[in-house]
Symmetry: C2
Subunit: 774 residues, 2 copies
Amino acid sequence: MRRILLIATGLLCLSAQAQKLTDYVNPLIGTKDMGHTFPGACVPHGSVQLSPDTDTIPHNVGGVYQKDAYRYCAGYQYEDESIVGFSHTHMNGTGHSDLGDILLMPTVGAIQLNPGVKEDTRSGYRSAYRHENEVSRPGYYSAFLDDYGVKAELTATERVGIHKYTYPAGEGNVIIDLDHGIYNYDGKVLWSNLRVENDTLLTGCRITNGWARMNQVYFAISFSRPILRYGGKDVSDKSVYKGFWRRFDMEHDFPDMAGRKLKTYFVFDMSDGTPLEVKVALSAVSTDGALKNLRAETAGKSFNELCALATEKWEKALSVIKAEGDEDIKTSFYTSLYHTMINPSVYMDVDGAYRGLDRNVHQADGFTNYTVFSLWDTFRALHPLFNLMDARKSKDMLGSLMKHYGQSVHKALPIWSHMGNENWCMIGYHAVSLLSDGITKGIVLDNGQALEAMLNSSTLSYYDGIASYMKLGYVPLEENQSAASITLEYAYDDWTIYHLAKAMGNKEVADRYKERAMNYKKMFNPATGYVSPRYTDGSWKKDFNLYDTHGQGFIEGNSLNYSFFVPHDVKGLISCMGGDKEFVKRLDRLFTEDLPAEAYEHTEDVTAEGILGSYVHGNEPSHHVPYLYMWTSQPWKTAERIREVFDKMYKNRIDGLCGNDDCGQMSAWYIFSAMGFYPVCPGSDQYVLGAPALDSIEMQLEDGNTFRVKAENLSAANKYVKSIYLNGKPYTKAYLNHADVVKGGELRFVMSDKPNKRKYKEEEKPYSLSAESN
Amino acid sequence: MRRILLIATGLLCLSAQAQKLTDYVNPLIGTKDMGHTFPGACVPHGSVQLSPDTDTIPHNVGGVYQKDAYRYCAGYQYEDESIVGFSHTHMNGTGHSDLGDILLMPTVGAIQLNPGVKEDTRSGYRSAYRHENEVSRPGYYSAFLDDYGVKAELTATERVGIHKYTYPAGEGNVIIDLDHGIYNYDGKVLWSNLRVENDTLLTGCRITNGWARMNQVYFAISFSRPILRYGGKDVSDKSVYKGFWRRFDMEHDFPDMAGRKLKTYFVFDMSDGTPLEVKVALSAVSTDGALKNLRAETAGKSFNELCALATEKWEKALSVIKAEGDEDIKTSFYTSLYHTMINPSVYMDVDGAYRGLDRNVHQADGFTNYTVFSLWDTFRALHPLFNLMDARKSKDMLGSLMKHYGQSVHKALPIWSHMGNENWCMIGYHAVSLLSDGITKGIVLDNGQALEAMLNSSTLSYYDGIASYMKLGYVPLEENQSAASITLEYAYDDWTIYHLAKAMGNKEVADRYKERAMNYKKMFNPATGYVSPRYTDGSWKKDFNLYDTHGQGFIEGNSLNYSFFVPHDVKGLISCMGGDKEFVKRLDRLFTEDLPAEAYEHTEDVTAEGILGSYVHGNEPSHHVPYLYMWTSQPWKTAERIREVFDKMYKNRIDGLCGNDDCGQMSAWYIFSAMGFYPVCPGSDQYVLGAPALDSIEMQLEDGNTFRVKAENLSAANKYVKSIYLNGKPYTKAYLNHADVVKGGELRFVMSDKPNKRKYKEEEKPYSLSAESN
């Protein structure tokens, strides 16, 4: 009996294994061309993203921007045939970059301290590799390095990258290149040092001046066997003042190496055939912090044990949603879900110490501090997704924004922040949207303090034309080349402030920001009914081109797309565009009329597949646009457009992402849309209904409730929504409320191959500011 | 009655004022030529030395050393006619340099962000000034800046520099130049930033790669009135990646300035005629730390109050010795005493947090952490002086050395350390001497740990030939150009280890290090009876020049001087030199035979007045030599030589110091010698008797005891010691024991114009290792 039971258990395990959600994640999706994802190992929202870098094109040379650097935002391009090494920090799918800190590379033979060129891998420490020998899955990566016959395997904890190198018998080297980096340039490393504490332990730091203006990365590195010999070289040709250090031979066994371009090597006796394991702990605080992280997360654990833990973490994290349906779509779905759980990432030591925006070390008491906030992208769907799926995590992220605010000399919330730095990338002040959306959806914050932060951020006079915006109601073109985009986004952001102030009963602020929220109207040129930039004197830009992004007052979106960015007042937007009929015509035009070639050239960050007609999905400003039909007389077209986006832009292929994943926003769009609804206007409590991509999706909600989305009769042909039932009852509204979802239940879509051309009544349509009763 | 009493009290005050010890300190002494002292304001052993810098000659240009930089080790040369500004960190009398952090300069009129050249002060922010308008006294400095009509006054607390600027009516500027520095070079500043927290408060940091390999200086600056407008500029021509920062106008009111060469300005409305007061707090830990220091030390206190406190601190510190005698000599004496109380300096925040050698932040629990240990200089007399006068302070310094040891990746005590860095300057491992001397003189340490640190430091194989030294008994010349000097110093240092191990009953170590202590003998070339360098094969350097320092195997001293560096075994030394008669002859020759011109050229760091015959007092290796007569048949010559040194090398003049003060060693020599005794062999408990310089010197000892030295009949002619009485009884030994001094009492020298030619019996002579009974 007992034996039979054991066998049965064994079978269950096998069966369970076959159904693992992590099996549906392919981290290589998005690593070719524009996705800018990385294939390496990390745990959900971990500080460490340990991943292969396949080239080292500098961001600039002598101050001149190097266009090809852009391809290496995540350090890896699938088409490359060599690996430079494995570095410990990466961003998921950004369109600008940084990091690539602390590169390790296993080699054999003569020590080479420069990476060499990809055309001849023997010219440096890099190695050729082949995808047939590459494995990438959540929490694990491996590649076989052909030049050296070394199998390199990677896994990670939150704060530690773990390497396992299987060398051929003999001596094995580990190169540690503290000069290597993503978006590197001559002088990016301000300083670095490396101490050989004993024959198995290193500590050190590197400080860079990159996209993060000053990024301090401290590390502690332990080896599973003693170092035989080691050394390093500062290859900087700067007039480094080495003073009395000249007395020592840093190239041979001197344990206190330092410099501006420090490259080091460590040699091990690998003759016993067992692999070398290397644990690399990071900290933004100090080497003491890195040592604490190393010990707390990895002490006594082998690579294999830590790898199993990493897999478990992913399995648990992904199990928040149980999806059933087409296998390819499941892969797209879970890979997207995976990509929503990389950034923001934890930014504090195990003891809660973290480096603040003011460069001081702070203590995170009672919250987890996060960094990498690509807010222009992620306010749209990623943070709303967290508010739905993991409010605790979201609360910590909002808390992290508030700490940033408290540490800001501008007394402002972050714009785009990473590693305790504000990099000011992109436009708007969308942190206000996150706060408003979080509070609306029940996250408990100090609302008074949040509102104060939002008010300060929206009145920061020297930021992107705010002073003029407050005077004129728009940002004039002569002040900012992205003036039109900025004005639209300020108006939306201001609506989120209005919305919160109103809920708090603060009429004065609500009134003021309601007026600001209507500023989008000032941008519609009555001559065209599209948004155009204006000058201070009120005049419109001449020779305006609707199709082009470049030089037209927009950024990452032309007027054809951007003019639809009024998520908080679609009813008002429809009026601006001339009413329902014209509005639908324009939406149709957007999705069907091909972008002229010269305009496409100026479209940033997207592949050809990221464009549907003129609709650009590879950039974010249009992400809500397919849902705008829901306010019109032809709501059924939303399902049609969404299906087109699903099919064209989220493929189960290495190049399956049509644009930068943008820290999870592209993926979060997919998760929401595949579930059948989308947060068109974060800050409101509504999700606008679309059409699901999978037969069944079951969300585990935080308080134990379950929300299930069923798509009856879903198929390639049956892409239209015939009818909807919420908890068994016919559901006639064009949107769900947040409360409907979080209390649990079932939303059933009945799909059909024919559109249901029923129109929504006004009161069934989603939120519009203009429709507010007041 | 009452009124009369008050008048009497008033008179007493006046009378007391006239007798203030600080009146006998002239910080300008040593600021001309070679002294390398600074004239600015500080408190005893304070972290801040706020002082005018008069030029900015870089240490190197494109890697080429600039000889003239040496003149500006302390930032100030008396002969200069302009002041660049007032920076907050300086070293007292070094022969290599660094620091000059955080320069402020008050100006009026158009903003100039570059310092300009001294030939034309209008070419930059610097200003002409005249010595007639300059005041320098302990804790206070002021100058009138002729270009701007601004009176600048400075004072300091331990961690805060306080400025008072009296501008002409109108607008007044403060330039804050974060690029300025002592021994600067292009690229020395790795990074700096400045935040305008509010209209009276700045915070920021600067990180430099100088003599201190990585020096982190954080600051908090408060103004006594609001800033009208401000700005800054990063003048670096490096390919600084400024990224999205380009959007902002850092030159006008942008509160978050940063860069590699950051120069900033702040404008104030000075129309009311009251001065601007500026408080600049430093921290090595963080801007939070600087703010804590600012508040703890200066909150609510005006410049005048803080200045009075600084004066009081000096008065109290100097009052450890009450000296009476010739007024000029008193000035030399108290100025010297002042100079012994600048370095080492406190290196921790008010809350005990400090930056360690490992760059981590540590907490100083139960001790004060110090930095600036110029040990090659100061082991000789400065630290022995502290052991005598202020054992508590000395204990903290020894504790600081032990913390350095604990944080050292080399597991070694400091060689020359400053600002949490080891700069490896000069030779030997003299921290062992400090520990041995301290423990011998009753400072309670963990002796086992101290011995361990000493043993590790003396066996650090890759430091200055130690591996060969341990094998051969000397450092061979082909390994190190200072091999002969090094071997002599290792032998002495080893004696201090022997001495402690013996006291601890550790026979194994004692025996081993006794043997090492005798290694000096291996350096005496029997052909000459002088020390010469040797090669690994045992052969002596050919074409050896006794007079020259350059290229002869020595450093900062030729063989003629250095051969006497056997402080722990003078008896053995006398044998090496051929016995008493020859030894005395050689001493006489040293003090009377002039150095050949070409050899003088190669003598470093001294003025012509720093040389007596061939005896070089401006450098340290010979400091004990005048006392060596006390082991010979002509002990009376010690008094003669000392008087010559007093008269020639310690003058009450701006150029009164004959060589670098070397962090107080030159001054400590004077303090001891002026009191009539000197610690020839630190580590032993003996002070070798000389001849005092003042009629009466009274030391306040820590436990309330008083030790008084009287010099009866002292005069220019009466420079010889006729007889000595200790506590009224004739004293016949050539040395005092530490215990004799610290228990209090009176040492009375009866002076005469004729030498007392009595010879000391063997048992009356000071310590020699060779004379030890085993």
